[in-house]
């Protein structure tokens, strides 16, 4: 068991849940979602911990519907050669939202965007939470959820139709449009979408 877990419990008390060992020997620590940023900052900045390298951010949803959806953070301390896995449990039937760790590790930017794209987990405070692997107006849902079928929800013809109509140039993000000074020429429907704030919300969510 990684000694960081004991140090975490001493510092944060009951914000730290159970600790398990994975089959590869790494320690997994469960953290309460509302204290995540404090815990992560402490892990990164405290001299004895110094988890300066974020290896990966991902999410796991189990086939058993009673189990929580876990957001998993793989942390590594390069100088101490130590690894720690931190998990946050979310209710899969409820609102999936957790704080973003992008202010702490810049590598989390795209990793969190991918978790949002595939699972629908919103990362509060993320500078640019858009879909990254699917196109931005993808309307079928969040692919890696367990209730999303392998072949998608729509028929193949409908998927082809939606894909052909998802003209990539029509969906520049806000920052790109401000450069292009093209905001005035944007069609009214798109301006409406931008006004509503397309970050973090899909059109069909309204």
């Amino acid at each position: 068991m990684n000694p960081s877990v004991d140090a975490l419990r001493t510092t944060f008390g009951d914000a730290i849940g159970r600790a398990e060992a994975a089959r590869d020997g790494e320690t997994i620590a469960f953290v309460r979602p509302d204290r995540l940023t404090d815990v992560m900052r402490w892990l990164r900045d405290t001299p004895g911990q110094a988890y300066d390298y974020l290896v990966d951010v991902t999410a796991v949803e189990y086939r058993d519907r009673e189990r929580a959806l876990e957001v998993v953070y793989f942390l590594r301390s390069l100088e101490r050669h130590a690894d720690l896995r931190v998990k946050v449990e979310l209710d899969p039937r409820g609102e999936l939202a957790v704080d973003s760790v992008t202010p702490l590790w810049a590598g989390a930017n795209w990793l969190e965007r991918e978790v949002y794209d595939m699972f629908g987990v919103t990362f509060r405070g993320h500078p640019d939470l858009r879909r990254i692997l699917m196109w931005e107006t993808y309307a079928e849902g969040y692919p890696l959820r367990k209730d999303f079928p392998l072949r998608g929800r729509f028929s193949r013809a409908e998927q082809v139709r939606q894909a052909l109509n998802a003209n990539p140039e029509a969906h520049y993000s806000l920052e790109e449009l401000s450069i292009a000074e093209a905001f005035d020429e944007v069609p009214a429907e798109m301006r409406e979408r931008l006004r509503r704030g397309e970050r973090g919300k899909l059109p069909f969510d309204e």
């Binding site: 949803e61 086939r63 590598g107 990254i132 692997l133």
Partner: protein, 427 residues
């Protein structure tokens, strides 16, 4: 990350009081207020890709240009998203191995090894010594072919066509060996959980030995043509610098991380497959620019060659597969004649090998960086979650940081130096 200072909150309209998009101050190198050149004009927004010869696959770069200088670049990925991780949840562990060929298709054997190691860690299987050495050979062969693609395509992007042909000729020689071993040039699927698909044929070892004897000559030729070349050095030195701290916070890995001076190599720090018993060095850069990455990868090819020689010398005899009939398919002759073997064969093919409940993450030193396979199992034969920790995806996210302030042609050089393969970026 670029030096923008805006934090956009979710669902906040990005419009200011006049209904225009809220402008943010951009501070790019060379364009600080007070230092701006006199030329008026606007910034230009151009689109590179996704179909483009120099983007190394289907990558789309939206580039904001001030004249020739890149103010900002916004990469768009996902044009090769194939749903690997979703597919993995519907396949047995051995059926996932052919999928791994197609993520990083420039170094397929290394991917196969990565997944097999993760599955074996999950199931608690220990592989045989011969299998370990053969997997080291597979990984190092993959490193060489991946670096050869990198070398060929980077030099062709920067205008040097000849090293492309030399590098691809070396790849053809390795392809011959791969085809000899697995039957396929590119989509090898060489590992199985608990062992390998097949043992190496007799002509493999002399063939590989001949390769290791002649490969340094090609590397020397390429070195002679490129390393002290004024055009090459001028186009790559000082370009796309990532400092040590930036490299760590951007979670870079592999040659990108080491070129910035961070001495981290998974083979040395968390050794697998017996790498601690091999005698090799890991080159570390100091400047973190494109030239350092080039030198580093060239030297890694030399070191891979060295490891291959050692592996060939120490290749032990013995079985390649672990002796567990619940995990490894019995031989065809036994399966057709012995009832028990037939039952094992049936169970493995129809139901798959069940993994115990738990999870395992194993990171290996892919040519592109640290390739991790994270497998979560709920006791069935198909994983609950298969996550590929993609080194190219994470290395690519640092592109905006590296490219700002450089010229457009430097952007091509920097993009090439990241060594991305879109199959892995998009999965």
């Amino acid at each position: 990350m670029s030096k923008r200072t805006v934090e956009l909150e979710l669902a906040t309209p990005g419009l200011d009081a006049r209904g225009q998009p809220a402008r943010v101050p951009l501070v790019a190198r060379g364009l600080e207020p007070g230092n701006e050149p006199d030329l008026g004009g606007e910034h230009l927004l151009i689109n590179l890709g996704p179909q483009h010869p120099a983007t190394h696959g289907v990558l789309r770069l939206v580039v904001e240009l001030d004249g020739e200088m890149v103010v900002r670049v916004i990469p768009h990925v996902g044009y090769l998203h194939s749903g690997f991780e979703k597919l993995g949840e519907y396949r047995h562990y051995n059926q996932i191995i052919p999928l791994t060929d197609r993520t990083d298709y420039l170094s397929p054997m290394a991917n196969n090894v990565g997944l097999a190691l993760a599955a074996e860690q999950l199931m608690g299987i220990e592989i045989t010594p011969r299998c370990q050495v053969l997997r080291v050979i597979a990984c190092e062969m993959s490193r060489i072919i991946s670096h050869m693609v990198w070398l060929g395509t980077t030099s062709i992007d920067l205008g040097a066509f000849t090293p492309f042909l030399w590098a691809f000729q070396e790849r053809e020689r390795i392809y011959d060996l791969q085809e000899m071993w697995t039957g396929a040039r590119l989509t090898t699927s060489v590992t199985r959980v608990g062992g390998l698909m097949a043992d190496v044929p007799d002509a493999f070892v002399p063939g590989l030995r001949h390769f290791t004897n002649t490969f340094p000559n090609t590397l020397a030729e390429i070195d002679r043509v490129l390393t002290r070349n004024a055009v090459w050095a001028g186009r790559t030195q000082g370009i796309g610098v990532m400092t040590k701290a930036e490299a760590i916070t951007y979670s870079l890995s592999g040659p990108m991380l080491r070129a910035s001076g961070v001495p981290y190599d998974v083979r040395k720090d968390k050794p697998y497959l017996g790498y601690e018993t091999y005698d090799f060095e890991v080159p570390i850069g100091e400047h973190g620019d494109v030239y350092d990455r080039y030198l580093l990868r060239l030297e890694e090819c030399h070191q891979s060659n060295r490891i291959l020689r050692q592996a060939l010398d120490r290749l032990p005899d013995g079985p390649i597969n672990v002796d567990d009939p619940r995990v490894i398919l019995p031989s065809k002759s036994r399966a057709m004649s012995d009832m028990e073997a037939m039952i094992f064969h049936f169970k493995q093919v129809m139901e798959g090998v069940k993994a115990p409940v738990g999870e395992a993450y194993v990171g290996i030193e892919n040519p592109k960086g640290e390739l991790g396979n994270y497998l979560v199992s709920d006791g069935t034969a198909k994983p609950v979650r298969w996550r590929i920790r993609p080194p190219s995806f994470i290395n690519l996210s640092a592109l905006p940081k590296m490219a700002e302030g450089h010229l457009l042609s430097d952007l091509i050089a920097i993009n090439a130096s990241v060594d991305i393969v879109m199959g892995e970026v998009d999965r």
